[in-house]
């Protein structure tokens, strides 16, 4: 499986066809008529076509990085893209406030997605909060390929845990005990016993770091989808670097999915909120 689908050059305007709430999250659907099919783990840069700016702190200005959650073939040859968004600041607030019929600027797909587990390995998906976004489409694809893709998800509270309905048969942990295990998703992971699995994980930095440390300790291969502040998404600004054992790496170009073995830590400066 390829890990990178090339992006058409230049941003394109697409129509938002739906915006629905799923608990604390918004699921935005848009019709990417000219776009190619992305690979799970890749992302897009998104901006509202109208009034991008003028929000809190007179922002946003640059577009916002966003994993696609699911991509399906459209009737007319294009791709129907679903994004899962959480309103955490002026950029995501503006995106979440868009109505069906309004337009988005979209650039992508960008970066490299997940690599399949080695033959004979299961997949174990570990997501925290909004980190479920890239895992959902990946779970679909793994299951379609007959690969087991058990999923452990952690959320802050019940309204966020509603996001669990977006994936197939997940085990859930919540910080406040409102659903599933009262505790952290990494406790669910720690309780896993198989070793013939590759872990695929996305979530807040502290969670990813816990996943990384646990997997390193147990010698389990892990692929982590990281976040960092981005301005361009295509390697132009050198702004999104994360430190790896081999030096700084541009997350938008050589990530966002990174082999955990490359990292000394998954705690990225300035990421998360």
């Amino acid at each position: 499986m390829r890990r990178r689908t090339l992006a058409p050059f230049g941003r394109r305007s697409v129509e938002l066809t739906d915006n629905r709430a799923v608990g604390a999250y918004s699921v935005l659907t848009c019709a990417d008529r000219d776009g190619p099919a992305p690979r799970p783990g890749q992302f897009y840069m998104l901006a509202a076509c109208e009034r991008w700016g003028g929000g809190e702190g007179d922002r946003p200005f640059v577009p916002r990085a966003c994993s696609f959650m699911r991509a399906t073939a459209d009737e007319d040859g294009g791709v129907r893209l679903e994004f899962l968004l959480e309103d955490v600041g002026p950029g995501t607030a503006r995106l979440c406030a868009l109505h069906a019929g309004e337009r988005l600027w979209l650039l992508g797909p960008l970066g490299v997605g997940f690599a399949p587990p080695p033959a004979g390995h299961d997949a174990l998906l570990v997501g925290g909060g909004i980190g479920i976004a890239p895992l959902a489409g990946w779970q679909d694809e793994l299951r379609a390929a007959g690969i087991s893709a058990r999923t452990l998800l952690g959320f802050r509270d019940a309204s966020h845990a509603t996001g669990a309905t977006l994936m197939h048969d997940p085990s859930v942990a919540t910080d406040d005990g409102s659903q599933g295990l009262h505790g952290r998703v990494t406790e669910l992971l720690a309780a896993e016993r198989g070793t013939h699995a590759t872990v695929f994980s996305c979530g807040p930095p502290a969670m990813l770091e816990a996943v990384r440390a646990l997997c390193a300790e147990r010698g389990i291969a892990a692929q982590l989808a990281l976040e960092s502040g981005m301005a361009c998404g295509f390697g132009a600004c050198f702004g999104c670097v994360v430190p790896t054992r081999a030096g700084y790496l541009r997350l938008c170009l050589d990530g966002p999915v990174i082999d955990a073995a490359q990292l000394e830590t998954a705690l990225v400066a300035g990421a998360g909120h």
Binding site: D58, W105, L107, P243
Partner: protein
Amino acid sequence: MIDFCGIELAGRVINASGTFDAIAARRTFGESLRDRFPFAAFVSKTVTVAQREGNPPPRLWELPAGLMNSIGLPNRGLAGFIEHDLPELAGLPAPLIVNVMGFDPAQFVLLIEAFGELAEVAALELNVSCPNVETGLEFGADPQATAALLERVRPLTDKPLIVKLTPNAADPPAVAEAAQEAGADALSLINTLRGMALDPSTARPWLGGETGGVSGPSVRAIALAQVHAVAQRVTIPIVGMGGVQSGRHAADLLSVGAALVAVGTESFRDPAAAIRITAELDGIEIPGKSGVSVREAG
């Protein structure tokens, strides 16, 4: 075709150094980048003698209508650039301008001697925003230091030398004039303005590099004033930049005396922005009657 310091260009819009990595863009967009290459000339990110990792993250802070960065000039260094980057950049469908920076005049000499010999390189842009160890200021803030540097490197090459001015100066036109007198073939401006932001949760500087460079729409009016002031004082061509987002913004820079316009931060919002800007610019007449006609390069 436009003649810029003896180089033939297909248009007036180029990229600002450090805001477009053609190699990374090709990995992302494939051959569609070459088919619609957005710039009439391609300017490399700054190359230094030694390889640099750049500043620790975070490197970006978003501003009201702008961006602040503390990238810290990561690059492969002179040898690495020539070995790895140059072959691919030389194949771009536009002349190549290599931007260089030394931390002292001797390093500039090394860089200019090396690139001066390479046929793939159409011109050199000198980033003089480096700190001058003697004064603690940026080289480019000081007319004397800039002139001395130019006098030293001018004899080393026949290739056009473009001096990139810093806006963090009391008198950019004086620096421009000094550079022209010392043999610069062209000037480019503005580089970023020094800025700072604090992490709201710690009240410590947000950027890994503590201070950063401000770019984008919020510097546009400042850029226009500086290009205008410099154009009043020199006769060599000027590459104007700072917050250009539209053909109108490009036209404004040309109207006050720029020969070319560079697009920087706007390419982050859309890698193909310069294509749109070039098209919009084509539709705008720059009134020669305004007293400041579009200055052609000599």
